[in-house]
């Protein structure tokens, strides 16, 4: 097998006395669709924050396409092809959706430092931004300020912003968080349509969606990987059933 698109080696991190990462080793092959699941507070978001450079692990290494990126800043990791979305909308409220995505595209194309040419003169950049928005069903609303978009549209904009960086590895932190169930499936259809060479690791609580869209699943509990396997293996594993699906089966597994 060729080297993994994304891998971590022995990631450890503590918040005070709370161990949120305990020797996390994951390895995601190129083009794979992995799901990261686990109860609330398991450390899933923290893991993504470490992988993308928002948090610095206490120890361990992060490898992107075989290269050690542990010491790189977030924006340098993005330039190497690692993008993410946020569980809680992290957008630009007073920019239009078009401006926001144009901004991300112009960053990628190395144009965002130019302070003399006018933005609309970069027609390829603007057109590309518009196409990304259109592919996320946001064409009709792209001239509106972000804060005025419907919540579900803001979730789509989260993804559009990440796509604008042309990622080779995409980390999606609960992309459908807060979206009604019937819409979340459509959202994942859009994710499933992404080109095959993009490696995707997504966090999601809805097990139906996880089983449908993930080729493999990593289960994180208490900052440690409990197990990793195919959807069939995970769903039949008694340990997983116990800690994740099992005890709290009253309201369903898709809590917030």
């Amino acid at each position: 097998m060729s080297e993994a698109a994304l891998a971590t080696r022995g990631l450890n991190m503590r918040f005070g006395s709370l161990a949120v990462a305990q020797g996390i080793d994951i390895s995601v092959p190129r083009g794979a669709r992995y799901a990261l699941i686990g109860p609330n507070g398991a450390g899933k978001t923290t893991l993504i924050n470490m992988i993308t450079g928002l948090l610095r692990p206490d120890s361990g290494t992060i490898l992107l396409e075989g290269q050690d990126i542990t010491a790189l800043k977030t924006d340098a990791r993005v330039k190497r092809g690692l993008a993410r979305t946020f569980q809680i909308n992290t957008l630009f409220p007073h920019l239009s959706a078009l401006e926001a995505v144009t901004l991300a595209v112009s960053e990628r194309r190395g144009e965002a430092g130019n302070w003399w040419r006018r933005l609309p003169d970069y027609s390829e950049t603007v057109d590309e931004a518009y196409e990304i928005l259109a592919s996320m069903q946001l064409a009709d609303v792209c001239l509106q300020p972000t804060h005025s978009l419907a919540y579900g549209q803001q979730r789509l904009l989260e993804i559009a912003l990440a796509l604008a960086t042309k990622p080779r590895v995409l980390l999606l932190d609960e992309p459908a968080a807060g979206v009604p169930r019937n819409e979340s499936s459509a959202l994942f259809e859009a994710i499933a349509r992404l080109p095959d060479d993009i490696t995707v690791l997504f966090i999601e609580h809805d097990m139906d969606i996880v089983f449908r869209f993930a080729s493999r699943i990593i289960v994180l509990v208490g900052g440690a990987t409990l197990m990793e396997g195919t959807p069939a293996e995970i769903s039949s594993d008694p340990k997983v059933r116990e800690v994740y699906l099992g005890s709290s089966h009253t309201g369903g597994a898709h809590h917030v």
């Binding site: 993005v78 144009t102 901004l103 112009s106 965002a112 430092g113 603007v126 069903q137 300020p145 960086t165």
Partner: protein
């Protein structure tokens, strides 16, 4: 929007033209043209106020420089007079020691202010909120003390005497009435305003707004925030330096007051009164502040600040976008730029 959703997937919908939308934001509006024509009126209508008009133009330029960092990039500063002062003293010292040519003087002053801006930018872009206020405040105090103790160079508390400004382009002498002073200040203001306007409408300007809107998201789309902030900080410092140099050149004098906290504080007030993040707010704020101060000049200073305090509170409470923001709301939506 409607039920015809199948078109939205790939085909551009007829109502949305992204490039035209962005172009519309950069286009000069009728209001802008009228505004700049109106700035010529002191030459004809208010000749006795020409020297006030040149003070206003200088202050407006200074306020534009603050708007670039505060209104667009979200960097709060209570020490922007440092750069104004560096420009003012640099122009004055260069002139005092034999080079009174005003245009090259502006460039030299801009370079000096930009260097100081660059050196301080390393701290500025790494702190936020209260720490940022305290650091810019501290830089201002330090600058005053340095200028004060270097009296062999700056004249200390007595001010810098012996400044002499040569005629602009060898033609227009700085007359007593202030015609040349206002003309020169206005031309420089206009040129640097156009430059700032370009900057604001460039990809770089967009990335500054991005940092102001969400500094966490920016690195996650690949943007190096500190480098962007440093760049705009240096540009802003250079423009502030030009404003300071203009003051020295037109008044042929510089004193410690050019660097002082009062100037930085007045500048913040001017920008907040006029409205941040819209460039013209800086100019409108400067006009209102300076004209009001001139009209109320007979009152004692405490009394004047009583009214300014009241006005400031009223604007912040009722016109969060400043006076210009309030005015634009009176304009029909289709004439307004987003």
């Amino acid at each position: 929007m409607t039920t015809a959703t199948e078109s939205s997937a790939t085909k551009p919908s007829a109502s949305v033209d992204p490039r035209a939308f962005l172009k519309r934001q950069t286009r000069w509006s009728v209001f802008e043209v009228l505004f700049w024509l109106a700035t010529l009126s002191p030459f004809f209508l208010f000749e006795t106020y020409l020297s006030l008009a040149s003070q206003i133009a200088i202050t407006a330029l200074f306020a534009v420089s603050l708007d670039l960092i505060l209104g667009y990039a979200g960097i709060i500063s209570l020490g922007h007079a440092v750069f104004f002062g560096v420009g003012a003293y640099t122009a004055g010292i260069v002139s005092k020691y034999g080079w009174g040519e005003p245009i090259s003087g502006l460039f030299i002053a801009a370079a000096a202010a930009a260097i100081v801006g660059y050196l301080t930018s390393f701290i500025i872009v790494r702190v936020q909120h209260l720490a940022l206020l305290m650091i810019t405040l501290g830089l201002g105090f330090i600058a005053v003390e340095i200028a004060n103790s270097a009296d062999w160079l700056t004249g200390g508390a007595d001010g810098l005497l012996g400044v002499e400004t040569w005629p602009v382009l060898g033609i227009w002498d700085f007359d007593l009435w202030g015609k040349t002073a206002y003309g020169f200040a206005l031309v420089v203001l206009f040129i640097l305003f156009v430059v700032s306007r370009r900057l604001v409408h460039s990809p770089f300007g967009l990335s500054l707004r991005g940092i102001r809107e969400n500094a966490v998201r920016m690195p996650a789309i690949g943007a190096p925030n500190p480098r962007r902030l440093q760049k705009v900080y240096v540009i802003s410092a250079a423009i502030a330096g030009v404003a300071g140099a203009l003051l020295t050149q037109t008044t042929e004098f510089a004193s410690l007051e050019v660097l002082g906290f009062q100037r930085s504080a007045d500048l913040a007030i001017i920008l907040i009164l006029g409205g941040t993040g819209r460039l013209y707010g800086a100019i409108i704020g400067a006009i209102i502040f300076m004209v009001a101060r001139d009209q109320l000049a007979d009152m004692n200073p405490q009394y004047w600040y009583f009214w300014i305090g009241l006005l400031l509170m009223a604007v912040v409470l009722f016109l969060p976008d400043g006076i210009l923001g309030g005015l634009t709301r009176l304009v029909p939506a289709r004439w307004r730029k987003p």
